[in-house]
Subunit: 291 residues, 6 copies
């Protein structure tokens, strides 16, 4: 297994105006779900661990992942519990408004297959999982990875509405970031994970409109944001993570890691779905970005 | 006020196949919400009491009710809490699958305006509210109505997935039904509310494909189900309740009460929304049903 | 020319619920427009005369007719005047509500090419034209046809909202019907055109759910309404007229005239457009109706 | 009442290509309708006076306004007369083509409630009303406002196709502008209202791509046009008026009035509806514009 | 492996009116594709063998099958060759018109994994494959199955436009039918496969509106067609095959085999897709059919 | 006849993501089809020669052309053969992926009406036709034109997937280009048609994002690409050809020829169809482009 990842996945309903419109779009998504699909499309072996509800939305999540070639043999559907749901309002030029409908599906510590993680090259987790029902499972996975020398990749992914208590967020996300060998952090999250900013981990800073940067072996690399059309920015950052990790798995140069991250960002944002736009290896040349 | 009603309202997302389709429909609904709209369109003065979330879905619920002329001056939006949500799969010829996403919005006993209820002709409540967050508020409203001699209308409306414990449902719904002067009960719910089936209350039995019946002053009246096109059956029973109550408020003959109930059922089922198809008084002649 | 026809054509917007829905359908239509398309698809030579507005809707009307092979060389676009418009609400199982937006486009008597009418086998007009801006032109056309021995086909087509004065309607439509050799009349219109019911004209009575009938040479022929799916009944009667006239032009037996009329009704009603569903000769066998 | 406004409202059908497409969008709109919704969403008390048809489109207009909290107690539905209609073709990068379907609904002088206007802080009217059926009513309202010292706000809003006679437009709109305390005028309309450009009224000039400006107390303030995405520019100018007036009602600085006007322009243009995109006070920070 | 199947799969575009409409639906389909999905959803182990094009449509076919848990490890994508395509016109009440766009993708005899077929309980093939590019491969598979004592299931599935020469069809399909242990044949195809109608094979006759029948051990069982709503009949017969085979694999009684076949027909026809409506075992009780 | 043109036309299905989406758009298109419509809308007399299938798609092609006023009296529908089809994936910011489904419809040399071509001012052909089934017919047409002194216009229009053998393409397209009086060539095709770049023919070079240029009488004229919104670039180059030829037919100055070409490019790209956005002469001022 190249990458093992775990987290929650959701049904997501997108509307251009929740207050008025009847037309909506139903899809599935999830931070690690997107990363898993992105990596699988680029030819990597990926496993996704999560618990979905025992309903049609849960079936859709597992069907999509299986269809994309992601290993979901560890994932479970929990009968009697619905899959979580997001309601998003996406209006042109405005930040999306997202409502989380969380449910009782919960990945427990005991669901984490320590051996399979130990046999992977990378473990990838995201801070959103630390805020949701699967925190303990996530910690168990990180511990298993570190114990086995598996590279740990962490996306900080702080979502304000999921952390009622800022102090708790700082503590949890800070600790999580300190477990990372590869750390994806937004400009706005730097303060949250200050303790993790020292040391020799590979820290990729996502600066939004100002592009991305990484410092590797004391050299800083920068890339501007791609100037390609944005239909729906949802999933862009997770796509960046998938692209970057893919390039890292292929031992590409840091600048090329950023470039592939940006490329996947551009693909993901070119359509309404968080993950459908992700490219196969053969499609990578279809979009041209600067840098 | 002709009718005071209270309960929960929801955003509702409808899909023809949750497992596969992208296209979905976003609307708002709620058992008493539908009854309130149905009565207001027929010219009655109606007030709806409920708590919605402090979000766009909550704004939509209140906007629709206000637009329809329903008095929402007692309703509240609860900042920081999302509006509840339903995800429905509606496939031709099959019973809908519904997932409830309940949230922390909660109508408390203290939110119930005893005086306004006492000043109404009817109070209408539904058993679904007894299963949700507003049970205490509902009991307070029923007590206030009974104390003031206000006619109490109850729809049993048992929803299996909301009552994990059947005994609790039997107890709660049975007691609620016993408070009713007018009782709407499905054939399948007769056992649940057995203690309420005696006495001189007006009991309307909804027998699905076998039509509706009521016994008034010892005479039983029966009407077959209307043979009109069904686009989406959602909201049909609530529409029946609105039609029946409207005819009762106008002192129509029991057979005419059933007839108007059926008529509203036919209107509601003729389109995809639970409430948009409800007729104004002027529109009543547009649909012809037998009986 | 097999059939010359004249009348008004309109842009038509159809909604399933004008009060609430955003989704609508834009098309073009018109009583004689439909008859012309129906006849042309069945291989007859047809000309349509009318005035449309000098706008995109007018261009659409002429483009459709030209595309279908209807001769529109006499038709005109009137710059500076918009094309008329209909707003229709079509709800399952209910009679459509139609609003007419009439405009200043007016076919004048002088626009009627007497010679071309005289050179046709049939002239077809509809009573709706007598209620609209083209009444004088229609009379001129009928006179020209009668003078030249051209068979005159008339559909009574009384539309209540276009005739504020019932007496005027009775007078106008009665006189028009008396000019007909072939008369299409709804059961409900029989009283309006009483004076035309005697004599030896061919009178086809359209009885809605009770089917159609015609008396030819003292023999009455009856056909029940086709039991095929109805998606939108708009254009059904005009389709019947086209089918009947087509069979008459081909000297088919009266029972076969009714049958082809019914067949075109079934085709027209099987889709949302008033005319798009009309069959070519090759498509006639695709739908099976009884009779 | 903060603002009293009066005018006509319409059903509006939007198509991306009237000549070819079936898909269309049905909505409602109106110059003062948009201003009223914009002000109500920002927390102001607004009343809208107008006559709609006694049909579903008219019901939609009143339902929307009531739902938004606009006071429509003076508005009337005129039975037997349809609501006016607009047919718009909106193609990317091109000016919209609009066809007006005007009807007999007419707001008469006698419908104007002089007392209620006298009791408002502002009266807002638009020049489009002077071209339509409600001109006399509008004059009566302006007189009532001036007599009572109510601030009169006027948007010149010259629409070429509604004024067959340019001289009449110049006279009417010039006189109307001279009654204004606050005057919204497009760059291209300056010549039409020349007599009103002197004096101490507050004149806001809308220069399209070159931004907006206002001179207050001898100081000119300028703001560029917002560089936010434009999905459909319909309603942008009316949104500007609502934003500006809202800021004026809150005694904001002239530069902040322009800024709020621009902000509402950006919100309105970010979606297909003329008014659905208008923000509540809480939503104002969601869009960032320069200036 | 419970069932091994092989054949062609296609992209399919469905339109309600090819001549006029812009709106269309893009999906994937195939006779054995549908059978495979139907069986997999009911919990059976199924493998599908086929060659798709090296394009997005081919990727979609394999993604769907993989997502549904069908084993596609033997299937191949052929670079440089497009996936076949169907264009279907589906109009209410009319038989679909289908155009086949066949391409160079061709399953060769050498692609057939004899061992895997020998290790399966059933082999299922359909006569449409005999008419397409994979005939030799199909024969090889049938030979392998018969040699290994694997039950051979054949659906005759004669499609007129794919067999220019009726004699060739009779020969090919007759021979194929004679290889079958279980034979699915339409009433209209009985003449084509006369030689196969004797012997002790299990012959299921699909009589369209007159239902289905089977003779097992000398006893004939009959079931009427289900009276459930038909949204799109596409895929109904293949769904029947999947249901029947599933019941056969579970050793159900012949009458129950027909019943499950009918049940799957009803599910498949209840939506626009040929396969999306197919039920999981848990969904089977959601639709009620007689019989 | 101003322009005679010949070639193939296709049904075209457009999807934003073939791998996932159900929603698609069905239209018709063709290189010379677009040029013909573009010229007809600008008032020129145009004839289009081609063979379509004897199916609904073929009927749509001929209906559209006839509706637009293009002379299709030489065109034929070939019974028993389907119309060719394109499947296009159009994703924001990416080059379209197109799959060609070619069929047996074939325009033969004998179908070319030499006299009608000889009587035209221009013959227009495109290199795509040389790669498809109508090559011989195209050569016959070019010979007829040259023999009669008719101006020959050629668009090189090299499509990689239609020419398996580059050498053949170079030979064929080079020879075709040498027959041209007016030659439209993409920057990327200059090498393919080298022998045609000398001589005094009018060569228009389409440089994509770098604009267009032409050298006439030794003077080179350049125009940048129009900066108007691009909804779907399909048909842009053919629209350019139509605009350029139209201006040439009207003896406009070379710079104005480029300008009109660019203008039609902008119109064509402003909507999803290859040809629906093309302007009439009256619409030309609706779009403003620089240059």
């Amino acid at each position: 297994m190249d990458v093992y990842t775990l987290g929650e996945a959701f049904a997501v309903v997108t509307s251009s105006r929740v207050r008025h419109e009847h037309e909506a779009r139903l899809d599935v998504t999830g931070a690690e779900f997107i990363v898993a699909v992105g990596l699988a499309r680029l030819g990597h072996e990926v496993a996704w661990l999560g618990k979905v509800g025992g309903d049609e939305a849960g079936a859709r999540i597992l069907t999509v992942l299986r269809g994309e070639g992601v290993d979901v043999s560890d994932a479970r559907a929990q009968e009697g519990s619905p899959t979580g749901m997001l309601l998003k309002e996406v209006r042109a030029g405005q930040e999306a408004k997202t409502t989380y409908y969380r449910t009782g599906t919960r990945l427990a510590q005991g669901n984490v297959p320590v051996d399979r993680i130990a046999g992977s090259r990378f473990l990838h987790v995201s801070g959103i999982t630390a805020a949701l029902n699967a925190r303990d499972a996530m910690h168990a996975a990180v511990r298993a990875a570190r114990a086995a020398g598996v590279t740990v990749s962490v996306a900080v992914d702080y979502r304000e509405q999921l952390w009622p208590d800022l102090r708790e967020a700082t503590e949890e996300l800070g600790a999580l970031a300190c477990s990372a060998d590869v750390l994806f952090v937004r400009q706005s999250e730097l303060d949250l994970v200050k303790p993790a900013l020292t040391g020799d981990r590979e820290i990729i800073v996502m600066r939004g409109t100002r592009g991305v940067s990484v410092r590797v072996d004391g050299v800083r690399h920068d890339l501007p944001r791609p100037a390609t059309p944005v239909v729906d920015p949802g999933g862009s950052e997770e796509a960046f993570v998938a692209g970057y990790l893919s390039a890292l798995l292929e031992y590409l140069h840091p600048a090329d890691r950023l470039r592939r991250g940006n490329l996947l960002t551009a693909f993901a944002a070119s359509g309404p779905s968080d993950w459908q736009g992700l490219p196969t290896t053969a499609e990578l040349p279809l979009l041209e970005i600067e840098g």
